[in-house]
């Protein structure tokens, strides 16, 4: 799983600003001092090893007209598996994490329309019997985009 200097340079330099042109990987490879096939191979390998979650455009859900929210539930350990299964069955649930807190289940809802968020919350409450705390962001502070490795 080891990453070398070049892998790290790729991650540190490529978290944004990937060019839109005919041969974008060639442009980036040249900036990094490697050739295009090597860059493609390294990106492929880091995706396979899950060192990168993805490579490509990151879309802004709300500006696409969709809904996006973080929701939490207080689910006791004894009921956790059943509720996880019911929540995960909703196609609108993009991610779901167990966390070590009384608010034990945290999931992200992504829907085609903003109105659908509330409806999905109500449906999840009906299916599981637990209250859904819908916590959509009121504001986002996204200055620290880059992550040094």
């Amino acid at each position: 799983m080891a990453m070398d200097k070049i892998d790290r340079a790729i991650i540190n330099n490529l978290q944004g600003g990937f060019p839109i042109c005919d041969h974008p990987y060639a442009v980036v490879a040249q900036q990094l001092g490697i050739d295009e096939p090597e860059l493609l191979q390294r990106l492929q390998r880091m995706l396979e090893r899950k060192q990168l979650s993805r490579f490509g455009p990151m879309y802004h859900a709300e500006r696409l007209g969709g809904g996006l929210s973080l929701c939490a539930m207080r689910v006791p350990e004894s009921d956790f598996e059943r509720v996880a299964e019911q929540v995960n069955a909703f196609p609108e649930v993009a991610h779901n994490y167990a966390r070590d807190h009384e608010f034990s289940m945290w999931f992200v809802l992504g829907t085609e329309t903003p109105e659908r968020i509330e409806a999905a919350c109500r449906e999840i409450e009906q299916a599981t019997g637990y209250k859904v705390y819908n916590m959509p962001k009121k504001q986002e502070f996204f200055v620290g985009l880059r992550f040094e490795v």
């Binding site: 991650i11 490529l14 978290q15 944004g16 990937f18 839109i20 005919d22 974008p24 990987y25 060639a26 493609l40 990106l43 995706l47 060192q51 990168l52 979650s53 993805r54 490579f55 490509g56 455009p57 990151m58 879309y59 802004h60 500006r63 696409l64 007209g65 996006l68 973080l70 207080r74 996880a84 929540v87 995960n88 993009a94 991610h95 779901n96 994490y97 167990a98 966390r99 070590d100 807190h101 608010f103 945290w106 999931f107 992504g110 085609e112 705390y133 916590m135 959509p136 962001k137 009121k138 504001q139 986002e140 502070f141 996204f142 200055v143 620290g144 985009l145 992550f147 040094e148 490795v149």
Partner: protein
């Protein structure tokens, strides 16, 4: 609220074709264009426009903190005065160990926290130092805070914004 930009049918098909990732081939836009029955110029022009209007936040690599050796990842939640949440959100969001920070609604009395920050460290000790640094920055305006560690990923299919 953010402005919703009107997309036409071809824009939406470009989003569908690229939301999981850009092809790892020498001419990725050409490959997307071929799959959609259009030209690379058209795809590039439209993606450039989506980038400028903010529909595309950025194009690049998304590092996976867990597999990159950041074992101390915590969702930190803070109760700060509502009138100062923007000021503090901007300061915390600018820290290099915070990947994102959000102002979110409280649910009193069960949930008092209005500022969320994802904090990353190589282990939990380092994470604790970073949390202390945030607490120092907030001073007396830090009325309470907690760290929620993820213990399990229950689902991770990712966002599919347009189908």
């Amino acid at each position: 609220m953010s402005d919703v930009v009107k997309l036409d049918e071809l824009d939406r098909r470009i989003v569908v074709a690229t939301q999981a990732g850009l092809p790892l081939v020498a001419e990725p836009y050409q490959q997307v264009a071929r799959a959609l029955g259009t030209t690379a110029e058209e795809v590039m022009q439209r993606m450039q426009r989506m980038l400028e209007s903010g529909i595309i936040r950025r194009i690049g690599a998304v590092p996976n903190h867990y597999t990159l050796g950041f074992r101390g990842n915590g969702m930190t939640v803070w109760d700060v005065p509502d009138e100062k949440v923007v000021e503090y959100g901007e300061k915390i969001g600018a820290l290099d160990f915070v990947s994102h920070a959000y102002h979110r609604p409280r649910f009193l009395p069960e949930w008092r926290y209005n500022l969320f920050a994802m904090v990353h460290g190589t282990d939990r000790d380092e994470l604790q130092h970073k949390i202390d640094a945030i607490a120092g920055l907030l001073g007396a305006d830090n009325r309470a805070h907690e760290v929620l560690f993820s213990t399990r990923i229950l689902k991770k299919t990712g966002l599919r914004l347009v189908s």
